[in-house]
Amino acid sequence: MFASPMAVTGSDRAWFAGEVEHLLPELFGTALRLTRHRTDAEDLVADAVAKAWISLDSLERRDALRGWLFRILTNAFLTNRRSAAARAVHEALDDAGDEAVLFSLFERLHQPFLLWWGDPERAFLNKLLRVDLERAIDALSEPFRVVVVLVDVRGCSYQEVAAALGIPVGTVRSRLARGRAALQHALWDHARDAGLIATAGRKREEAS
């Protein structure tokens, strides 16, 4: 459709405006998880929409708009946050030991001797509130949060995340594993504090 700059028509511009408004909850939701602050997230979305508008003529097909917009949003976030100091912190985190990836919420909750239709894991997930998950993700340090958000919230492939962040796919895997483990640890801590964990799970933790 937009094979050359001249191909963008008035109707394309109106269509773009309508689509952006339609996608706002998703754009904002992703931006909010990345930035952790509502006003920063709004500014990030506005920045991404402005960047997309400027390069609208590079969009090849209307059905590619969604992925294209989210790539622009992610790149805008990363450009704002990228710094030598941040990179040094990220590399130090990547070199950390493997203990962080060992935590498994399932293993804490699972009761292997329970009848198979007894399901404390599902019961636990059913009690989780959206705000519990939001807080747990927001508590992740940035390199882990960004990878978890891009893979689990946005559904990006490891290759796409590696390309966006300029890191090897192996580092994406490692950050994802650590990020998810830290997320599950935070959920476990929260659930324990809120009294959501069944007795067996608590006993196992006390014993460990």
Partner: protein, 88 residues
């Protein structure tokens, strides 16, 4: 087409995250699926991780303040009216 490789629980769990993320090659994907069809414990783990992943994915959409919708509308109107609008 190669035969399914029989995985141990340890091997299946090592592949589980990539399986749920849709990142495995077809043959590995089939190997993990085969294990999950036979092993109740790993199947339960996979279902748990899948549901948690779905709940995290649901965070990708958030309510937007009406003031922000208005801000974007105004920005778009300004852009569309601009003589430097793409294709104008």
């Amino acid at each position: 087409m190669t035969d399914e490789r029989v995985l141990t629980c340890e091997e299946a769990l090592r592949f589980l995250a990539e399986y749920l993320d849709g990142q495995l090659e077809q043959a590995e994907d089939r190997d993990v699926e085969g294990h999950l069809a036979r092993c109740r414990s790993c199947y339960s783990r996979a279902e748990f991780e899948k549901q948690l992943k779905q709940q995290v994915a649901a965070l990708g959409s958030s309510d937007v303040r009406p003031e922000f919708v208005e801000r974007i509308r105004e920005m778009m109107s300004r852009f569309i009216a601009s003589p430097t609008a793409p294709g104008s």
